[in-house]
């Protein structure tokens, strides 16, 4: 199987490294045609405004939206999660696919960026939050909360999508990597992990 990484801008090479570490083949996605060659997709962190502008050059988001709705296993981190959110406070929606309300730069500017302990499924580890967004609330019961940082929701899943607000690709701990492999292979949220 081959996993695509949306590569318009952002930390796509870091996600490629994660996939390398679990021996999953990867492809950097820049055109709609590239999407036909992959069995899963990762939307990386970066700037959601820049990515959306760049995507409009070849209408990449339209096909990406279709593929996600058809059930392509989809992982998003940080800006990628803003791109998939159904509701964005003080910002535009892009390809709304996950029923959450999100706030951009919710913790403040870069000086308020931090590392913190996150509970992700059955594991705790320290991850980076960089000018991170915050999931303010889930919009219906189809959305499961799968990661928390104290009382904040920092990761959710819905059908074939897992969306996080932090950066597991900058930590690459074994639990995350094993989960990533299982998620891409199963094609959906791996809750019993």
């Amino acid at each position: 199987m081959k996993v695509g990484i949306l590569s318009l801008q952002g930390s796509f090479f870091d996600h490629q490294k994660s996939l390398d570490l679990v021996s999953l083949e990867s492809l950097l996605i820049k055109t709609p045609e590239d999407l036909d060659k992959v069995d899963g997709i990762i939307l990386p962190g970066g700037e959601s405004t820049a990515m959306s502008k760049i995507s409009s050059y070849n209408n990449l988001y339209k096909k990406l939206d279709t593929k996600i709705k058809q059930g392509l296993p989809t992982l998003s981190t940080c800006a990628g999660t803003i791109i998939l959110a159904k509701s964005v406070i003080d910002g535009d929606t892009h390809i709304p696919n996950i029923d959450i309300e999100i706030q951009r730069n919710a913790y403040g500017r870069q000086n308020e960026s931090f590392e913190a302990d996150v509970k992700f499924l059955n594991n705790n580890d320290i991850y980076c939050f960089i000018r991170a967004p915050k999931i303010i609330r889930t919009l219906n019961n189809d959305v499961k909360v799968i990661a928390t940082q104290i009382e904040d929701i920092v990761g959710v899943s819905q059908n074939n999508i897992v969306s996080l607000t932090y950066h597991p690709e900058l930590t690459n701990d074994n639990y995350y990597l094993e989960w990533l492999l299982a998620f891409m292979k199963e094609g959906k949220y791996v809750g019993s992990f």
Partner: protein, 294 residues
Amino acid sequence: MKIESTFKVKKGLAEMLKGGVIMDVVNAEQAVVAEKSGAVAVMALERIPADIRADGGVARMSSVGVIQEVMDAVSIPVMAKARIGHFVEAQILESIGIDFIDESEVLTPADDVNHINKNNFKSPFVCGATGLGEASRRIAEGAAMIRTKGEAGTGNVIEAVKHMRTITNEINEVLTCDTNQLVALSKKFRAPLNVLEMIKELGKLPVVNFAAGGIATPADAALMMQLGCDGVFVGSGIFKSGDPAERAEAIVVATTNYNDPKVLADVSKGLGEPMVGINIDTLTEEEKLAKRGW
């Protein structure tokens, strides 16, 4: 448990900017144009480098009012420049919550021996370099991001190319040497040994490296990306050109699709006048900004 501003978090922001274009802006309106055109960050300045060069005199940190106006106008990260060695300008920028500080040779240096100890700050720093020694010294001082110096305000890419090639060649020298040679290389490049050891282990610089200084066209941006940069800074090239919004957008698309000449041809079409350039050999040694930094 929550720890703010660790080196990982500082370096992490630079990682998120990769593959993107950072644009110089002098007011809120330009910042909005830059954001809408797909900039990943903006550099807030009172005067762009081409004007600093034309005006002469001492160039200092921009007025706090201008920087705050830009910070209020956009949702993307905002950077601002402090003079080399001027740690108080950096303290002021940090206190207003700037996202990245550029300790920049474009401004008149405040210290002719020392750079700022960037490890003392919560805000991340980007610094210019002309070779691996300079890049390594800045990293040892705490820089979370490196950029080539190029020759700012000239619209001439030759110096940025030279600096990028030099850094790449010198990294290759570190990667191919045997460990017995590392101390001699550290002496040759005037590069701290521990940074060279990191490079040898990682196979690359430990922080992100952007291109800057003289990039004026989509082709210039793509050239720097093909030479191995992680992203580009465009200073005078956008707002000194005929149609800034269109040029900004074209440079952004070119930076993502740097390996696709068909896309580059398409975005280069009908762009209007680029900024007027300056030939480097018409500059005196004192006029070359890249000479600043130690």
